[in-house]
């Protein structure tokens, strides 16, 4: 199966760029740069130099200062550190927080944990286009609001939020703004010097870096302090202790440089792939596109289809690897809460397929996906009771 697999699940995780694999390898063996960057001996200093170089590379991708970046184990940890950290650091000023039900689980569940701790959370629903309305946000902001968290690109639908507009509103009110940019870093142009974002989460394995390494950006602004969630050492300004994983950091840094260099080309390629796929399936009766045409990241196409059961649809798609709902929840069996928040019913949400593309995706891959999708939908409809038929 692995040999002929067609991988269209880049939004879940990407393969690692060959150049990134190469630099990671130079960090592993005895004659390589594997030493603890906190060690003051010569090999430790070499590791420290690699880490600082990587931090600079990531800072360049985001047009910010390396000092603003904290290495973490991924966006899940970054989200937890940002949200728990900012909420607790500002709890003496107020305990009202704002987010959306269409966020990633790592954001939603963190806010739910804070609710249990005594924080009050306003959950703002998106419009039918998946977007947060700035007017609604303005109405929800209160004197005691301390933190707003809205993701940049949605991992299921690709919807791009107006983080600049949201951030401006927050700045006006002195509210900290966090964005989960796991799906946009390395894919969309993000210029932190000119974006009113206070905290931003990212993870390297979404842009051809390794799994297990991410970062939290903390804007250098008064009042933007966070408290740590883990303790135990001087690393990362005491905000994130633990031995820095040199090969992962070096890999993440190089992945950032590569991402910056190919951003425009990639975007064009992804658009072509997505449009080819959409053109190949859009005539299917009872098909719904989840997420608006515009304001969407080109690397994701999410569709629902009437009269077809989701798990069987996934089996029929083999050997094309796609996600049903969010990859992060796909073993949980629940239908996507993101799609339900967009107004899809349970049946539609459970039949959703997320196709996501990367720079290795070819037209042949897309054609294979089209063929499998069409075959499976027809096949399952033929088996289904007539009462389920698409009218």
């Amino acid at each position: 199966m692995s040999n002929k697999a067609v991988y269209l699940d880049y939004a879940a995780t990407t393969p690692v760029d060959p150049r990134v694999i190469e630099i990671m390898q130079t960090c592993l063996s005895l004659d390589g740069h594997f030493a603890n960057p906190a060690s003051i001996h010569a090999k430790g200093r070499q590791s420290a130099a690699l880490v600082s170089d990587a931090r600079m590379r990531l800072a360049n991708l985001l047009n910010t200062q390396p000092e603003c970046l904290i290495w973490t184990s991924g966006a899940t940890e970054s989200n937890n550190l940002a949200i728990q950290g900012a909420a607790r650091a500002r709890a003496h000023r107020g305990r009202h927080l704002i987010t959306m039900p269409t966020e990633h689980k790592a954001v939603i569940d963190t806010f739910k944990a804070l609710e249990k701790e005594g924080f009050e959370v306003s959950w703002i629903n998106p419009g039918a286009d998946g977007l947060l309305s700035l007017d609604t946000l303005e109405n929800e902001l209160r004197a005691d609001t301390q933190l707003v968290s809205v993701m940049h690109v949605n991992n299921e639908t690709g919807v791009i939020q107006d983080i600049s507009g949201i951030g401006l509103l927050c700045r006006e009110q002195g509210v900290v703004f966090h964005t989960d940019a796991a799906q946009s870093v390395g894919k969309l142009d993000i210029d932190l010097a000119n974006l009113p974002v206070d905290l931003l989460s990212l993870t390297a394995h979404k842009f051809y870096g390794p799994q297990g390494i991410g970062a939290l950006y903390i804007a250098d602004r008064p009042g933007n302090g966070i408290v740590p969630i883990m303790f135990g050492g001087n690393q990362e300004r005491r905000l994130r202790p633990g031995t820095l994983p040199v090969h992962l950091i070096a890999g993440a840094g190089l992945a950032a440089t590569i991402a910056a260099s190919r951003l425009n080309d990639d975007t064009r390629h992804l658009q072509v792939m997505r449009d080819r796929l959409w053109d190949g399936i859009k005539d299917i009766e009872g098909l719904t596109r989840n997420g608006p045409d515009g304001n969407c990241y080109a690397g994701i196409l999410n569709v629902s289809v009437d009269g077809v059961e989701g798990e069987s649809l996934m089996l029929g798609m083999e050997p094309v690897c796609v996600a049903s709902g969010s990859a992060c929840n796909s073993t949980s069996g629940e239908s996507s809460y993101v799609l339900r928040a967009l107004g899809r019913n349970d049946r539609q949400a459970q039949s959703a397929v997320r196709f996501s593309f990367g720079h290795a995706t070819t037209s042949d891959d897309i054609d294979m996906a089209i063929a499998r999708y069409r075959w499976t939908v027809n096949h399952l409809r033929a088996i289904a009771p007539r009462s389920m038929a698409v009218s």
Partner: protein, 128 residues
């Protein structure tokens, strides 16, 4: 390495070749039919048993559900077709679970099929 493979070969074969899916065509002494659903939004199954000359001349099903449910219906129909009418009397769920390597958390799905067969057997009984 422990292979984490949710569908065994039988499930895959039945999913690819659901020969008994669809409505029954043709004339029979009796056509028994049942419809069962998990919930409004959940899995559903339609099952037909066509009796002629004292045997089950044809079995047919339609289902909206997961691959295990499709395969279970297909396996059941293959087994009963051309057999004695007494085959409709009971479903050996545990044998089916084993044959299709149904994971524990999904065994409930097979009860749907059991219910469909029970309903057909009841119809048969009333009419006999």
């Amino acid at each position: 390495m422990a292979a984490i493979q949710p569908y065994n070969a039988t499930v895959r074969e039945c999913f690819e070749n659901p020969d008994h899916a669809g409505d029954p065509q043709g004339d029979y002494d009796r056509v028994l039919k049942s419809t069962v659903m998990e919930s409004e939004q959940g899995a559903r199954i339609e099952l037909w048993a066509c009796v002629a000359d004292g045997i089950i001349a044809k079995m047919r099903y339609r289902t909206w559900g997961c691959p295990h449910l499709i395969a279970a219906a297909e396996v059941l129909c293959r087994r009963l077709e051309n057999g004695p009418v007494s085959g409709l009397s009971a479903l050996d769920v545990s044998a089916l679970i084993e044959q299709l390597s149904v994971p524990v958390e999904k065994t409930g799905k097979l009860l749907l099929l059991e219910d469909a067969l029970k309903a057909i057997w009841a119809q048969h009984g009333y009419a006999a």
